[in-house]
Subunit: 84 residues, 2 copies
């Protein structure tokens, strides 16, 4: 899968057109010296920050983690409620 | 500029190869009903979260905001210090 396939917009169905989406992508370029993997904790805290601004249900978040070509990529796709 | 040009990796110079980078992209799909623009505040808080995990200098953050095809896109490029 290409790295370019992460960003919005993806294919929309007619049902999803009215909804608002928020997408957060964190790409960490790994150096040869390694280092701790803080992305899982970072993901939780980023979501807490987003929740200060918009109501986000637990089911409304889709998380994907990928690794490719020397990058760790964390992708959060959040569907915002229509009455936010 | 294509929406696909945001993600890592960008062209690397020999000087930047040894450094580690962290990139955060927030894409907000705007609905027709508008709503408040919380991205600037969100950006500040996201940076505060990242600073809990890695030391980030004020000069090490490059911020870009773009709007295209119904999306607000916030891009944070962070260069991490080599001894982090």
């Amino acid at each position: 899968m290409s790295i370019f396939s992460y960003l919005l917009p993806k294919k929309q169905t007619s049902a999803s057109v009215a909804k608002e989406r928020l997408q957060i992508i964190v790409a960490r370029e790994r150096s040869s010296r390694g280092g701790p993997d803080y992305l899982p904790q970072l993901q939780e805290e980023l979501l807490m920050v987003v929740r200060k601004y918009v109501p986000v249900g637990q089911d409304a978040v889709n998380v994907q983690v990928d690794r490719e070509s020397g990058c760790d990529i964390l992708e959060l796709n959040i569907t915002l409620p229509e009455d936010s």
